[in-house]
Symmetry: C2
Subunit: 236 residues, 2 copies
DNA sequence: GAGTGGTCTAGACCACCCC
DNA sequence: GGGTGGTCTAGACCACTCG
């Protein structure tokens, strides 16, 4: 564990545990240097992690202050960013999966372009429904190059593809480019998600990248609008 | 202008102008040190800006590589992040505004909590419709504490509140916490946005903060789903 | 003027990749 | 083994806030 990560985690815990009230001032960077026995630039980096998460604000000439945001935000953005697949973001709930389609096909030109592969290559073509505590929450359309992510089996799909990638294949996920939009469900999706009446879906389309820069996934997840939101923090 | 900002901008331009092909390797950090006459940590910081924007990937032991994402992404996330109000994010289009409501009221308990003020305080209560090239694109419900953002006039609302804050009041915007969701428009909104038939709206609710940590705005903008998306890049 | 965080340096050592 | 980026140091100076 790096020093700055450990320090960031420490401060985070102090805030989450209520040791720092919302609006109150954090210990000075100089003080933290002494407390942790590190240089100031390392403390700065640790605190900058919290700034990135939106938990604190730095004011040059004054100090660093706790922002005091809603608890939901802290939980959702938290130490981990809005990352991981579906399973990881809903800890504490019972997650189950229904695999509706699992084939290997050629990608469309659009998908091939996004995944930086040829239409001659092969991709997994997966449709899954995700349930939270037994209620359908979203339907996920996933395409992944078999070259990049080999060994996907039915069993992997029932759990987390992300776990398979990081734990079994030992690959690192680096980033995701997401586009969020609103749409109406198709008739099939209304069945999948047990939607009656008029309810839109929140669509999250993403291209995800490994740490070596290769795109490894193009997916669209379409969520019931009454049970899902997408959160983001942006810093100027 | 700071050195690392200038260097980041330089590299960004090299990528945007196509001097670096997608997938190609950037100049080494050591080379950039020589080129710009700065220390390596400064070059690193510059390149990290581009990583944050999702334009490049660093591979320890190998180098830094251009990710090769869609042009839309680069434009939208770009050098500026997905920031600024509506006017700034649609340069090149003709933007106009229709003010439907402009009053001063007490905030609801929920809004007061988010803005860290009392329900006894006053907030502007604003409803505006935004048009892109003459077509209604979204309706925006804004509440701002009059104490924090004084001097809002009809004329300001016709242009950009953000410009007023940064240029007239000389305040710095620091961050925004956003929650994106999908919903159906109300009957009134269908009129405002000239929606016929069944079309959902993409809602972006946000609390925005000044650089001194004070929340200064709670707003909900509800966009026609057929003309709007929300983009985000997340880095592990 | 005293004190805060912001930027930057020159140099060290480490973890990792590839040959 | 040679070269990459990652982390960290000790110290300097600057920009800003506040009393």
């Amino acid at each position: 564990m790096n020093k700055y990560e450990q320090i960031a985690r420490d401060i985070y815990n102090d805030i989450a545990s209520g040791k720092y009230e919302p609006g109150s001032q954090l210990a000075l960077e100089k003080e933290m240097c002494a407390q942790y026995g590190v240089s100031r630039i390392t403390v700065k980096r640790a605190v900058d992690e919290l700034v990135k998460q939106g938990l604190v604000v730095k004011r040059r000439g004054s100090g660093t202050f706790v922002k005091g945001v809603q608890e939901e935000d802290v939980e959702n953005v938290g130490m981990c960013g809005q990352f991981g697949g579906f399973s990881n973001t809903h800890q504490g709930h019972q997650v189950s999966t229904d695999v509706k389609k699992f084939e290997i096909v050629h990608p469309s030109p659009e998908v091939a372009e996004k995944l930086k592969i040829s239409t001659e290559d092969f991709v997994y073509d997966i449709i899954r429904i995700r349930y939270l505590d037994g209620r359908p929450e979203n339907v996920e359309y996933t395409q992944m190059p078999i070259e990049v992510i080999p060994g996907i089996k039915q069993e992997v799909l029932m759990n987390s593809i992300y776990n398979h990638i990081e734990n079994t294949l030992k690959l690192q996920i680096q980033s995701a480019h997401r586009t969020v939009s609103a749409d109406m469900p198709t008739e099939e999706e209304k069945e999948f998600l047990r939607i009656e009446g008029v309810l839109p879906v929140l669509q999250v389309a993403q291209v995800a990248f490994l740490s070596d820069g290769r795109p490894f996934e193009y997916s669209k997840s379409r969520h019931r609008a009454d049970t899902s939101v997408f959160r983001a923090v942006s810093i100027h």
